[in-house]
Every structure is written in structure tokens, then in C-alpha cells.
Symmetry: C2
Subunit: 314 residues, 2 copies
């Protein structure tokens, strides 16, 4: 029995791989696929593969009747997909479709966990978004993720896969370097100061965000491996609702005024436009009832980062 993680070389793919290897799930192979060779993990079950999933035939070559679960994490992130329209569609839509089609051809019923995003929402939103809120993306990335969800739902309805589309909260604190996600600053304004580095915040302190720690998202991914098939296949993962100002207050408490002073404001209307179009609060009652989890406090998220990831980074 095989588990596949696309984007298996990324920070979330690597954390998920670690968690799967230490979980009670039984499997014979964990295949990590990425556009660059993923970092090897010290476990005989792990196989790493450098592959371009947009190339013809690649998706089909990975998935077989032995595949039990596909975690599809590979994506072109939001600002990047906005800059490179064609690449965004090719990776975020066409690859999702190729993988679903390869699952259908290999064996009906493979658990297909698709990572969707808050970016499926946009424009005027109710104060609290729920499962009945229309998807009105205002970025190509969001449109591509919304279309991926529709594909996952239709392939599941037909019985070709057993799919779940998990809409991830903005993940904070990501270790490592800034990336080309519009939300990259959300981690930078905590991570860089705690590593003694300057950073700029491109949005106003009043902006409200919907956040999850990496560890909580990974726990939710594990639950998605075994969640019984239900009615709703698109799930808003639980998160916590905090403003940028509240995040910086928590930073001051955790890292002192010296850390807080590393953050200056430099307004970027393009970033604010994208991030402000995402919901800042979501009614997660259905997801919580299914066993998905949220962090308790933003202070706890910072604490977890300082304990686990800051050590790795230094």
C-alpha cells in the first residue's frame, strides 16, 4: 500500500511525511514527488522522486492499483500564479485533473486529499463565512483552487476517487524563507523578528486573518487519510481569527520590544487587495464535528514555532 505526496519536497509536504511515518497508518511506501528532488527521510518506506507533474504521462506513471492515498500539495502559489497566468493554470488546474484521471484509471476509490485555499473566497463576504457561502475568487490562484474542488467533487460523485478538498487557513508560522504567496508576510512578521531580522508588513494592523499552525494542519491532513466518506467533500479547515495588530502584540510578549521593533509597515495595495479578499472568520462547526482541529491561541502558535522550528532554523 502506497501513499503519495505531491509537493513532497515543500515544507508542508516534509512535515506531513514525518507525521505519516510516525503515525499508526500502515503503508509500504511513501512516495514524495516534487519538481526538485525532495529531501530524503531516514525510513526505508520513503522514496523520493524528482518529476514535473505537468509533463504528459507523469501522473499516470506514479499512480497504480497499490496507491491508497494521494495528498496533492503541489501548487503555484498565489502571487506567482497572478504573475504567470499560463503556468498557474497548467500546474494548479491541469495537474490536479491529470492526477484525478490517473487515479480513476488505476483503481476507483483512491483517497484523494486536495489542498484548497481561502483564496476561493473574495469580494464582498458575510462577516462569518460558512459552507453555504459562494466561491467568488478574485485571483487566478483562487479560481484554479475552486475549479480543483469542483473536479474533486465530481470525480468523487462518480466514484472514481474518494476525494476531500481541504481549504487551508493561512499557515503561520512557516519556517524558512519568504515565498511568492501573497500571504508570505503573515509568517515573515513573526519569523524574521524572532530570528533577529528586519521585516516589513504590507497590510494594515486591522486586517483580520484566519490562521492555523503547520502542526495543526498536518494533524488535520492525518485525519483526512481515514475520515469516513461524508456528504461535504469541500471542507474549511478550522483556524483562529486574529488581526495583524493582535499578532504583533503576541510577538512583543514572546520576543520583547526588540522583536517588535524589527517590524515596519510599508503598505502594498496589491498584497492587501488579495489578502483582504479572504475571509477572516469561518463557521467551522461541520469540520469540528468531523474531528478537524484548530489551534487555541496565537501565543500558542508562536510558542510552538519557537520550540520546534526556530531551533531548526538557527
Amino acid at each position: 500500500m502506497q501513499i503519495i505526496i505531491t509537493g513532497g519536497g515543500g515544507f508542508l509536504g516534509q512535515k506531513l511525511a514525518h507525521a505519516l511515518l510516525h503515525s499508526s497508518l500502515s503503508f509500504s511506501e511513501l512516495l514524495l514527488v516534487d519538481i526538485q528532488e525532495p529531501q530524503a527521510l531516514a525510513d526505508p518506506r520513503v522514496r523520493c522522486l524528482q518529476a514535473d507533474l505537468t509533463a504528459p504521462g507523469v501522473a499516470e506513471s506514479l499512480i497504480s492499483k497499490h496507491t491508497a492515498i494521494v495528498y496533492h500539495l503541489a501548487a503555484i502559489v498565489s502571487s506567482h500564479a497572478e504573475q504567470d497566468f499560463d503556468l498557474g493554470w497548467r500546474v494548479n488546474l491541469d495537474t490536479t485533473r491529470s492526477l484525478l484521471e490517473a487515479c480513476r484509471q488505476a483503481r476507483p476509490g483512491i483517497r484523494f486529499v486536495f489542498t484548497s485555499s481561502l483564496a476561493v473566497y473574495g469580494g464582498p463576504l458575510p462577516e462569518v463565512v460558512d459552507d453555504g457561502t459562494a466561491l467568488t475568487p478574485t485571483s487566478s490562484y483562487g479560481a484554479q483552487k475552486a475549479m480543483g474542488e469542483l473536479l474533486v467533487n465530481d470525480y468523487s460523485r462518480k466514484g472514481y476517487v474518494d476525494g476531500l478538498a481541504l481549504r487551508l487557513p493561512t499557515i503561520c508560522v512557516r519556517p524558512g524563507k519568504p515565498n511568492r504567496a501573497a500571504s508570505s508576510f503573515v509568517s515573515s512578521i513573526i519569523r524574521e523578528p524572532l530570528q533577529g531580522e528586519q521585516t516589513t508588513c504590507p497590510v494594515s494592523p486591522a486586517l483580520r486573518l484566519w490562521l492555523s499552525s503547520p502542526a495543526t494542519v498536518v494533524n488535520n491532513f492525518l485525519l483526512a487519510a481515514t475520515l469516513p466518506r461524508g456528504d461535504g467533500r469541500s471542507i474549511n479547515l478550522p483556524g483562529i481569527s486574529v488581526t495583524v495588530g493582535e499578532m504583533l502584540d503576541a510577538l512583543t510578549k514572546a520576543g520583547g520590544q526588540a522583536a517588535r521593533d524589527k517590524v515596519s509597515f510599508a503598505h502594498d495595495p496589491a498584497i492587501e487587495r488579495i489578502v483582504a479578499s479572504w475571509p477572516g472568520q469561518i463557521d467551522n462547526s461541520r469540520a469540528l464535528a468531523s474531528g478537524f482541529m484548530a489551534d487555541w491561541t496565537f501565543a500558542g502558535i508562536i510558542d510552538s514555532f519557537m520550540t520546534h522550528d526556530l531551533q531548526e532554523a538557527s
Copy 2:
């Protein structure tokens, strides 16, 4: 200046072509494209082309910098797309994308009128659907139309086309023969009795439908040619809300008990499941404010059919 109608050989494409030729719109060519050679119309501006839009290069060959408006009506209908999964995706999604991409390459800002459908809705719905209701299709056709809307919205947001996605009510009364739309019976239960033929109704009399006459839809298509660019590019076209029982009462009034006796009930759960998943009532205030129209009464719809289309058919 050129106008293109894909599906230009279909009954709606032909009606739209007639209406455009008699409208005040100024254009030098009206290109009717269909998988079978469209019926010629007696006007020097009309050109008919047999073409398979799913073939590589065909979309690009049609659209040029002289193209002002594309009406994209070509589609695989609902029950057909449910039976032939691959064909449905190829025609309903890939062709829409090829046409949008061809517009982008030819000249930014072509008015692209995409015909969407009530089938983008499904599952538990509020009693009255409005523009904020989530799209939750329960058929491949609905998923493909919802994805087409997302494409039209994103290509428009980027300025590559000036798009509108019109969600058509169920059209009644269609002249001609039954087709493979799940909603085909909606016309058959009126059309066949008025032509002296037997027909069966696969759903219960209580089922509520959202209807428009062909003439009203065509008038709304004409408006879509010149509608100023607005915020919402996905528009629920106005309709009237009637039950199957009310339709049959109107049939009795129009055609007498003899006509009504031609309709027998033979329940088809597959058809009822699909059609009952569509909204029976929609809040159209935004569309009405933009100038889109609805029929007044179902009796008026029957009257219009008997005056115009029944003559043609006999």
C-alpha cells in the same frame, strides 16, 4: 466586425442568429459554427461553418482581431455529459477554455457570452436562491458549467476578455424533438400533446421549475451584447417559477382535456434527482435592474409557442 455563435446550428443558436440579423447591432459577419453544418440563413452577413471545436487549433482559427462578440452556446447537455464523462469535460470545459484563450491571443476585450445553467446549483438549497448562494453542482454538466464561469470570471478580471456568464432558466417550450438534457421532458409535456402526440412525465406534479421561453432568453442574449461591464459577471437570468402541475393545468386550458390526456406519468428517479436539485425560484433583482427580462405567465409561454413554433413544426 464579426459575431460568432458556437452551437450556431442548434435551436437556440438559430433563434439568436435571426434576432441578431433583425437587431440594431451593426456587424459585417455572423459566423455560425457547429459540429454539423448549421442551416443557412438568407442574409449575406451569415457564414456557416462545420467544425469540431475540440480539435486542436480550431478555436484559434475562428477568432481574430475583427471578432467583437462570441456567444458560446455549444455544449454537451446534462444527461449526455453524465453518460459520457470524457466527452462532457472535453466539450464543456476544454472548448470553453480554448475559446477564451483564442480571444485573449486575438485581441483583449472581446465580449464573451457564456451560457451557464441552473445545474451549477444542487444539493440542499435555500428556498430562494440568490447571487450569494454557493455553487454545488450534482452533475458533471453542472460542474463543467461552474468551472466555465470561473474561467470567464478570471479571464475577465485579467482583462483578457469582457465576459458574461448567463445562467439560463430551463427553456420551455423548445420546438423540435426531445434531446438528452435531463430537462427535456419540460418541453415534451407541452409540445407533444399540442402536436397530438403521447408523452410521459418522469417527475412528480409538485416539482417546481424555473422557466423561460426561448424568445425571452434570446432577448436577454441581445442585451448581453451591449451590457456595460459590471461587477458581477455571472448572472442568473430571470425566469418564472411554476410547478409541473401548474404547467399541466395551463396545457389543459390551452389545448383542452384531449391535450392533457396525452400526458401520462412514469417516474424516472435519475431524471427527478437531477432536475429536483436545481433551484425552483431565484432572486433576480440584480439581473432585472440590469435590464434582463422574464416571461409574465406560463400561459403566455404556451401561447407564444402555439403562435410561432407550432406552426413551424406542423
